[in-house]
């Protein structure tokens, strides 16, 4: 392909693809519009309910579509006392450190698995795959974490879940699909394995790294169960675990004669908690989105 031929038809193409017909564009837009409405409506209700006054929520007997007036008392209740703010920090640290560490370890392993020179390649692959289907169970996991001396430390929230076999397998598939000629060229130039990974494979796999990084980050962000089991010091509790304590409602304990303070309606609290817990991680997405842009590879391969 020469530059001149490329330019000739560019106007009719999107990233090289033929422009879709107007009819199919309209159909697609319609489908997307419906799909988005189906998603947006419940989310609007979640946000509206979190901001609605308790009286309105009680009268509606559940969620509302529009708050009569803005009432942020649920958010005040959650954010007062500094507990949630600190937990946000803990979750942030775990998520960032965890995702970086996971991504590093996983890409190293995934890359090694694409190379035929790796001894025991098949055995390691099988180990990975089998681990997807056998769950050690919570007690053996706890005992292992205890034996490695990780209890009551942030490491307990990162290290045991650091490697996700599914993510490694997917990453390996991405790496394996890179054009062979680029790697072979580098090999002939005398590049070592580490150089090839750092200089060629990773830069060419930004989309894959963004996706797997997101998978890991979301996993760390949402995890609360390892904290529940491994962390006794509430100062190290991540957000999801702290928020969980706001929605437990047990009659048997009965709060009438205890000074727990008066919280807004249960549903309102629940929805506010939902908003607080998903907004930060949702904000990450747009930053990753640009890595999904098409044609990331084109220049590198041909250029």
């Amino acid at each position: 392909m020469t530059n001149s031929t490329r330019n000739v038809r560019r106007s009719t193409l999107i990233n090289g693809q033929q422009r879709p017909s107007p009819v199919s564009s309209v159909v697609k837009l319609l489908v997307f519009a419906i799909a988005c409405t189906l998603v947006v409506l419940p989310f609007a209700a979640i946000i509206a309910t979190s901001l609605a006054p308790s009286a309105q929520v009680t009268a509606a007997g559940g969620m509302v579509l529009w708050p009569e007036r803005l009432d942020i008392s649920a958010y005040q209740a959650i954010l007062s006392g500094g507990v949630v703010t600190r937990a946000l920090g803990v979750s942030g640290i775990i998520t960032i450190l965890g995702a970086v560490l996971s991504l590093t370890v996983s890409s190293m392993l995934a890359y090694a698995l694409t190379r035929s020179a790796l001894p025991g390649r098949r055995a390691i692959t099988l180990l990975l795959i089998f681990s997807l289907f056998f769950n050690p169970g919570i007690i053996p996991m706890y005992l292992a974490v205890q034996q490695f001396g990780l209890l009551d430390s942030l490491a307990a929230l990162i290290v045991p879940t650091c490697l996700n076999a599914f993510n490694v397998i997917v990453l390996r598939a991405f790496f394996g699909n890179l054009p062979k000629d680029v790697l072979e060229a580098a090999e002939i130039d005398g590049a070592g394995e580490v150089t090839m990974l750092a200089r060629i494979v990773l830069p060419l796999s930004k989309a894959a790294l963004a996706v797997i990084g997101l998978f890991y980050a979301v996993g760390y962000w949402n995890s609360f169960f390892s904290a529940l089991l491994y962390i006794n010091d509430p100062k190290l509790w991540p957000l999801q675990l702290v928020l969980r304590s706001y929605v437990t409602n047990d009659n048997q304990i009965g709060t009438a004669d205890v000074a727990s303070g008066i919280l807004p309606a249960q549903v309102t609290m629940q929805m506010a908690i939902l908003v607080v817990s998903i907004v930060p991680i949702v904000c990450v997405y747009p930053f990753l989105q640009r890595h999904f842009a098409k044609g990331a590879l084109t220049g590198a391969v041909k250029g």
Binding site: V57, T58, N135, P234, V247, T248, N249, D250, A256, G261
Partner: protein, 542 residues
């Protein structure tokens, strides 16, 4: 599951969003077919059986409405003015004290930012380190901590199989400190009625202290009296048919008389409020009794008549409370104690008037109220901390200070001027009230009373309700008894029976299927459980 730690139904656990993760880690299952392990373990004496702790009620305050053993809790219209301090010195030994328990409150501020917590440490003379776990997940936390041999000084006893062996191996023997009149040294613990201590005896030894609830645990049917009156219904229904007629009157548009399928209430109206009963010293199952079918039939008829909310079967309790508050349901089944929290939760509803219905007889007269286990759960002192048992019991005693004392006010409401402010003699929580939720009340708690500030009428009505329904009532016969098969199978057996009940009430299966479900229950372990309870009961009597 034994009569021990109270567990909400499996779906109640799930629908509050809890418990799931515990399972995710397991991914599957259980049952024990050959019944090897079916010998009764409860109260098998051998040695000298401990005398239950004496009940020495606190006499420093006079209740507005008196406590009557087995009939009523005491009732207070206001917190006693100028509450007395009953403790002397500090109970602690200067060393930190560790504890773990479930909680259903939002996490409190950390110790260094929590004035209440610091004051508590000061008063106890020991630093209190409590590990809290959201209630629904406590069993997972408990099991892993046990497996890791990491139990703290105090622990709330979570769900476990073979409870007597567990307690014998992991819990300190408290008999010498608490048995009989020895408990007089601990006035807070002595204020807990004797019945609650039956749960704490294992192999004849006292190995735990109860978190007492007493009669505020009663299953109760609430009604929106304001809405009944608005609909012109002033007379209390006299039998189930009248209740059903009223229900039809109250249903219309997007309102249904019932937010749940009232099987528990229906069973109380036909006098079989429990699966087990003791008749003339014999442990019997009521499941074969045709009155169960009558109750199922009655609820099924309500469902057929369209007076039950169409989402009743799957709605979580919090949603049902919302329906009740919004007037979308008129009748609401809940625990007695919810009376007050419902008022608090729905404070914005104008003219809100919640009353409890008496337990009516199906064909008139009076039905039978079920009186459940009087405890929320039990707390043990770790066997490894047995040498500190006396100190730890003094701390527990402090935390269990009776209603009407200065210590109670502190333990439940915090520091005057910080966590609460006095309005008259009643504490009113401030914004810093959440500091109090450090979980100390899951280590030890005072005997419960009926008290709600500024709600004299409700306190009176609540006390009257207890007095009325306990006249013809029926105590959970498994209290203080242990069956190993129950601990290993009862939850799944009851689950299967519950599924059958639901299918029948919703019209998915005929009422005649009930007897087959009962047979399955008995064959699957129900019969063994009955025999084990009988043996345990005989042992306790003999």
């Amino acid at each position: 599951m034994s009569a021990h730690p109270r567990h909400p139904s499996r779906r109640a656990v799930l629908t509050t969003g809890l418990g799931i993760a515990a399972l995710a880690g397991i991914s599957a299952c259980s049952s024990d077919s050959d019944g090897d392990s079916s010998t009764s373990q409860g109260g098998s004496g051998g040695g000298s059986a401990a005398a239950l702790p004496a009940y020495i009620p606190y006499e420093g305050v006079e209740a507005d409405l008196p406590v009557q053993d087995g009939r009523t809790s005491s009732g207070f219209f206001a917190y006693p003015a100028g509450p007395a301090t009953i403790s002397t010195g500090t109970p602690g030994d200067g060393e930190p004290i560790t504890a773990m328990g479930p909680t259903s409150f939002a996490l409190p501020p950390a110790m260094d930012q929590n004035a209440f917590w610091q004051e508590m440490n000061e008063r106890l003379g020991s630093e209190l380190h409590i590990t809290l776990t959201p209630g629904g997940e406590y069993d997972a936390k408990f099991a892993t901590t046990v497996a890791g041999r990491a139990l703290p000084d105090f622990f709330h006893v979570g769900s476990t199989q073979s409870l007597p062996q567990f307690m014998a191996s992991e819990a300190a023997d408290l008999t010498d400190f608490l048995s009989g009149d020895a408990i007089a040294d601990y006035p807070g613990l002595a204020n807990i009625p004797t019945a609650s201590w039956q749960d704490c005896i294992f192999d004849g030894r006292i190995r735990a202290i109860p978190i007492q609830r007493g009669l505020v645990n009663l299953p109760t049917l609430f009604a929106r009296q304001d809405l009944l009156e608005a609909a012109g219904i002033t007379a209390t229904p006299q039998n189930f048919e009248e209740l059903s007629d009223i229900s039809k009157e109250l249903t219309g548009g997007n309102t249904w008389a019932w937010g749940s399928l009232p099987l528990a209430y229906a069973r109380a109206t036909v006098d079989v409020p429990s699966y087990w009963m003791i008749v003339d010293g014999t442990f019997t199952s009521t499941l074969g009794d045709e009155r169960h079918e009558q109750a199922l039939e009655a609820v099924r008829a309500l469902q057929d008549a369209g007076v039950v909310n169409p989402d009743a079967a799957s709605a979580p309790t919090s949603t049902r409370k919302d329906w009740f508050g919004a007037g979308r349901s008129i009748f609401h089944e809940d625990s007695f104690i919810a009376w007050f929290s419902l008022y608090v939760q729905h404070g914005s509803v104008p003219g809100l008037n919640i009353q409890a219905l008496p337990v009516i007889g199906f064909d008139g007269g009076t039905g039978t109220q079920f009186v459940p286990n009087p405890n929320y759960g039990i707390t043990a002192i770790s066997a490894g901390s047995a040498d500190r048992a006396e100190t730890l019991l003094r701390v527990a005693d402090y935390l269990a200070a009776p209603f009407g004392t200065e210590e109670y006010l502190f333990c439940k409401f915090g520091i005057d001027g910080v966590n609460f402010e006095l309005e008259g003699s009643d504490p009113v929580p401030t914004d810093a009230a959440s500091e109090v939720n450090i979980g100390s009340l899951y280590i030890a708690d005072a005997a419960r009373v009926i008290y709600a500030p500024n709600r004299e009428a409700v306190v009176q009505a609540a006390w009257d309700q207890q007095n009325r329904v306990t006249e013809k009532s029926f105590q959970d016969p498994t209290l203080g008894l242990y069956s190993e098969t129950a601990s290993r199978k009862l939850a799944s057996l009851e689950g299967a029976l519950g599924d059958a009940e639901l299918d029948i009430m919703l019209g998915r299966r005929p009422v005649s299927d009930w007897s087959a479900a009962v047979e399955e229950f008995n064959a699957g372990g129900g019969a063994d459980i009955l025999a084990e309870y009988q043996a345990a009961y005989d042992e306790l009597q003999g």
